[in-house]
């Protein structure tokens, strides 16, 4: 969960606490994901216990996050609906809420974070008007891009995730060659994705915030912009190719190659050309350091015990241990913070000699690094698919750990 969404989640929960909506209620969270875990943590910090996590995925049902059991949504019928509240911090809010209503649930349902501004299952005048205005704002952004880049192929990376942008840009040269595209402009969201664009030496980068990006994507869909591609594996809502994974297998990398760009099996991903040397302001010992990356925005967490064990083992063997952090993240206990630009990460990992991280976009960035690399996967399924995250996001050439 990124910083802005986390703030939005905390604000929503705080409001619910202030107006008494959570007091003496059976609190349910729908959908076991990273955002739900963070929400449960925040509720716990404020003295509220969650009754259960509702999840349609049968393989998750019966498992626990902390002491909260993951259950079939039908369990809610065992509770008094008027004494219950369902909190949703997931992209599929509309379908989750719809499912509960169809089941006959009459209690409160709260959208804690607006993850998905594309969906609203209503044709009321008010909703229609709001969505029309939203498209108009997107058209303004599109016009601004087009006034500067008239003929360039617009490549939209709609989601603020560095791994997604990395893959989108790595296959972009092959896509351009296949389609005789000479010039592109790449639209991304946020500073980290901008850095990924710079690592690939992207000539024309257009950086906007999340709201502007959603509006731009909607406008592009609405007018069916011709000279454009939305380069993402499961966004926006019109791209349902991810359902292919329900009955078939493709890796994340292949999904970009085949599904996003329609390339052949011989297409080779490009690698970043603008990595920088590690400036080592941290007095890191060459080949005797470990960089840990325990945080991932869209992956359920690996318990602290795992990281503590790793830190203890490496420290005992004389290694310096660092936690890769961004501005709002804390280093793990017993480690030093390492906060460097993405374009130095490869050289930093090579300098340290060892990297261990939860599967995140940082692993994609480090894929070309020549050092000992270990990727840690939580044992769960990717999104709504039937493919485990360690299968979908596999990292050939890395040591792989599936945490169970």
């Amino acid at each position: 969960m990124d910083k802005i969404l986390r703030q939005e989640m905390k604000k929503s929960i705080s409001l619910l606490i202030r107006n008494g909506s959570l007091y003496k209620r059976n609190i349910f969270c729908f959908g076991h994901c990273n955002a739900t875990e963070e929400m449960i943590g925040y509720l716990d910090d404020n003295g509220f216990n969650v009754t259960a996590i509702l999840d349609n995925n049968k393989t998750k049902q019966g498992m626990y996050f902390k002491s909260v059991k993951i259950c079939d949504p039908k369990i809610i019928d065992k509770y008094d609906h008027t004494e219950s509240i369902v909190l949703i911090a997931a992209r599929a809010y509309e379908s989750m809420a719809g499912q509960l209503r169809k089941m006959g649930y009459r209690g409160d349902i709260v959208k804690v974070v607006d993850f998905n501004s594309f969906e609203e299952y209503s044709l009321s005048e008010e909703v229609f008007r709001i969505k029309k205005e939203r498209v108009k704002r997107g058209l303004i952004t599109l016009d601004a891009i087009r006034s500067r880049y008239v003929h360039e192929h617009l490549v939209i990376c709609p989601y603020n995730a560095i791994g997604d942008v990395y893959h989108a840009l790595s296959f972009l040269p092959e896509y351009c060659a296949k389609n005789y595209i000479s010039e592109t402009v790449v639209a991304v969201t946020g500073n980290a994705c901008r850095q990924v664009g710079e690592m690939f030496d992207t000539k024309n980068l257009w950086v906007i915030d999340r709201t502007q990006m959603d509006e731009l994507v909607q406008a592009v869909i609405f007018i069916r912009e011709k000279n454009c591609i939305i380069a993402h594996h499961d966004r926006p809502y019109t791209n349902d190719a991810i359902k292919y994974l329900d009955k078939n297998y493709l890796s994340f990398t292949d999904f970009y190659k085949y599904s996003v760009y329609g390339l052949g099996k011989d297409a080779v991903p490009a690698v970043p050309t603008k990595n920088r040397p590690f400036d080592n302001k941290f007095n890191m010992k060459k080949s005797k350091a470990l960089i840990l990356s325990p945080y991932a925005k869209s992956m359920v967490n690996i318990p602290e015990e795992y990281w503590s064990r790793v830190i203890k083992e490496y420290t005992k063997n004389g290694f310096q241990v660092y936690t890769n952090t961004t501005a709002d993240e804390m280093p793990l206990e017993g480690t030093e913070p390492l906060n460097i630009p993405l374009n130095q990460m490869v050289s930093a990992a090579e300098y340290a000699g060892h990297f261990i991280g939860i599967r995140s976009g940082l692993c994609d960035i480090l894929n070309t690094a020549r050092c000992r690399k270990t990727v840690v996967f939580p044992d769960c399924y990717y999104s709504t698919t039937n493919v485990k995250v360690h299968e979908f996001f596999r990292m050939p050439g890395w040591e792989q750990v599936v945490y169970r």
């Binding site: 379908s95 229609f128 069916r224 009955k247 329609g262």
Partner: protein
């Protein structure tokens, strides 16, 4: 076409949807093209889907309410309602769906539409078949 005409299309689709109470259906398959071979296959797959699914409703399960909106007069069935539409109506609905996802009940019977859909790429690169795409992605 300018933006105003697009918004008019979306408005017309909204009126059509409400006037015909299309929100009452659990699934709507829209076939926007005159491609009889593909439309027939899609209707068959749709029929298989709605035959086997049940709609949860309080303590009991009911048959799903299914509708096919088609520009092509091809296949009626006991398992869904069939409604012939004009290409203009289909185009308007696609435009409305491009304005926001106003329903999760609409299945568009096409490999490239609505704009942004990428399943045709999976076919074109030769890793899967039309039948597999229909079974695994569309339904």
């Amino acid at each position: 076409m300018n933006y105003h005409e697009k918004f008019n299309q979306a408005e017309q689709a909204r009126n059509y949807w409400l006037k015909n109470s299309l929100y009452q259906y659990d699934y709507i398959l829209m076939l926007p093209h005159h491609n009889t071979r593909l439309n027939y296959i899609l209707c068959e797959a749709f029929e298989r889907k709605v035959k086997t699914e049940k709609r949860p409703c309080q303590d009991i399960c009911k048959e799903v309410r299914a509708l096919v909106l088609s520009v092509d007069n091809i296949k009626e069935s006991n398992f869904y309602t069939f409604k012939l539409i004009t290409e203009e109506v289909a185009e308007n609905i696609l435009t409305l769906y491009g304005m926001y996802r106003f329903t999760d009940n609409l299945i568009i019977g096409d490999f490239e539409l609505s704009y942004g859909r990428k399943i045709k790429n999976l076919l074109d690169c030769g890793i899967t078949s039309e039948t597999n795409i229909i079974e695994s992605v569309l339904f």
